[in-house]
Amino acid sequence: MFWEQLLNGLTLGSSYALIALGYTMVYGIIQLINFAHGEVYMFGAFVGLFLVTAGANIFVALLGAMAFCMLLGMLIERVAYRPLRGKSTRLSALISAIGVSIFLSTLMVLYRGPNTTRYPAVLGDSTFQLGSLQVSTLQIIILVIAALLMVVLELAIKKTRVGKAMRACSQDLEASKLMGVNVNRIISLTFATGSALAAAGGVMVGIYYNAVWPYMGTMAGLKAFAAAVLGGIGSVPGAMIGGLSLGVLEIMGIAYLSSSYKDAIAFAILILVLIIRPQGLLGQKLSKKV
């Protein structure tokens, strides 16, 4: 029972982690809570659905959704955030993000209606026995894809030139500009990367829970943001750990405490952690400059 719940928790947590990565990467560079991120995740899930319904292979659908959301993320950044950069407070950018979020979810409601659409069963779920443990192949596939994406991301950030530029920008945007980094391009690429990961999370959640709906991004986005903060916002490994632990704790809470308090559990954990450790699990405590 415990181990099965742990596996369920990790599956849910890996989707939180994939969304949380986008929050944390964008936040690390421009200190913006990208509230439209949950909607990008929702669009990813829907694009995946369209491709699967059109007869595409699930992996093609996953890549298609990621590519679409990459463009969507870059478009959002170009239209709604870049014009504000440098001449407004961070709160105005936040409101702009909220505007985009309302716009996108309404767009999907107009197109598909507010109701839930079922995902076609594309991967044929089967379970097998592993010792005393019931494991579903679907969970394994989701965990493997999520792990793969995170490893690729980690390598891209650590080893490539663009990754190095991203790290430089998150340390000091102005100094990076002076060192010849094309800051606008890097920010755009950061949005693209984060959005692609969210899209992957969306498609996987769609397959796993067998349902997508236009407002699915709101709660998932909030919880993923909670995961990013839990891990220490701005920290990439923090978002992964935060997402996974939030997923596990939430499932454990539902299993052993009460399911009617489902949505409160994640936030209660988050608040407790932040009261004890205000910078999150892996966040750095910066001394304030005067």
């Binding site: 936040y27 200190q31 809570i33 239209v79 709604a80 014009p83 504000l84 001449k87 407004s88 407070t89 709160l91 105005s92 950018a93 936040l94 409101i95 702009s96 909220i98 505007g99 985009v100 979020s101 309302i102 716009f103 996108l104 309404t106 767009l107 409601v109 107009l110 709101t218 909030l222 943001f225 909670a226 903060v229 916002i233 009617s260 308090y261 489902k262 949505d263 409160a264 936030f267 209660a268 988050l270 608040i271 932040l274 009261i275 205000p278 910078q279 999150g280 304030k288 005067v290």
Partner: protein
């Protein structure tokens, strides 16, 4: 007074004006926390729901008079604001924002499971005591007291914390105490607005006070201009009547609403009346009046 208004003004417009009044009280509370003191709160609807439920239960279960029910609701919200403020206000910026979202969600889930509040079904049969006169009298009182507060020594320390917390601290301001005070007063107004809301709608449901409601209130404060009383009022009037005006575009309403938020922020990044105070408007009028050169 209310009877006279009911006869002369179309019920639809009267309703919008009452909602604008309630929203002004709510938004002025949030303005104290976020606009003036600079502590980003994204869970104001949580305090609103505490006030709404507490006052409704006082009215229904204990038959409390309206004024007492409103006061009770406001005090309950203020008490929780105080309680939540103490441990959390040492968090900064977006960490604080996350915690306020979290608390509002926890409060919402609590009411979804709270027997006396009717659980998910909601609470109905609340006496409809809120009318135009009560709301706008309270709006007037709140504006005047708000103005008094902001021009006082305490009010100036609110602004000081927003501008530079370290500098404020080194000037001898007890920043934690002042922040908790701002948070408590803000929550009090949230609770008061909530009480007025529940006694106007006579039916409330935990979903009325979700994340989107908090965001809507935050939009009003930021759009009008952070920290400015006239700005907040303009933000409220605009964002409350805008969705009504957009009824002509019917189902595309929220699409326009979202797009307008983005466009307004691009063209007025600091809000429509960023940091204009009643005092500044007076000065501006004085100049226009041609006194001096």
């Amino acid at each position: 007074m209310d009877a006279f208004l009911n006869q002369t003004i179309d019920a639809y417009y009267l309703r919008i004006m009452i909602i604008i009044g309630i929203n002004i009280i709510l938004a002025l509370g949030l303005n104290l926390i976020t606009g003036v003191t600079g502590q980003l709160s994204m869970g104001h609807a949580g305090f609103m729901s505490l006030g709404a439920y507490a006052s409704a239960i006082l009215s229904i279960q204990l038959d409390a008079p309206f004024a007492l029910a409103l006061l009770g609701g406001a005090l309950v919200a203020a008490f929780f604001g105080f309680l939540i403020g103490i441990p959390t206000l040492r968090l900064e910026g977006d960490y604080l924002a996350m915690v306020t979202i979290g608390f509002a969600e926890i409060i919402r889930v609590f009411f979804l499971n709270f027997g006396p509040g009717g659980k998910a079904v909601g609470l109905s049969g609340i006496p409809q005591n809120t009318g135009f006169t009560v709301v706008w009298l309270l709006v007037l009182v709140v504006i005047i007291l708000n103005r008094q507060l902001l021009t006082s020594r305490v009010g100036r320390s609110f602004y000081a914390i927003r501008e530079n917390e370290i500098a404020a601290e080194s000037c001898g301001i007890n920043t934690t105490r002042v922040k908790v005070l701002a948070f408590t007063v803000g929550s009090l107004l949230g609770g008061l607005g909530g009480g007025l809301y529940s006694h106007y709608m006579y039916y409330i449901n935990p979903q009325d006070f979700g994340f989107m409601k908090s965001i809507e209130l935050l939009n009003m404060v930021v759009l009008g201009g952070m920290g400015s009383i006239p700005g907040t009022i303009i933000g409220v009037v605009l964002l409350t009547s805008l969705p009504e005006m957009l009824r002509i575009v019917d189902e595309y309403r929220l699409l326009f609403y979202g797009a307008l938020l983005v466009i307004l922020m691009i063209f007025r990044p600091n809000g429509l009346l960023g940091d204009v105070r009643i005092y500044d408007i007076k000065k501006w009028w004085g100049k226009k009046g041609g006194r001096g050169t």
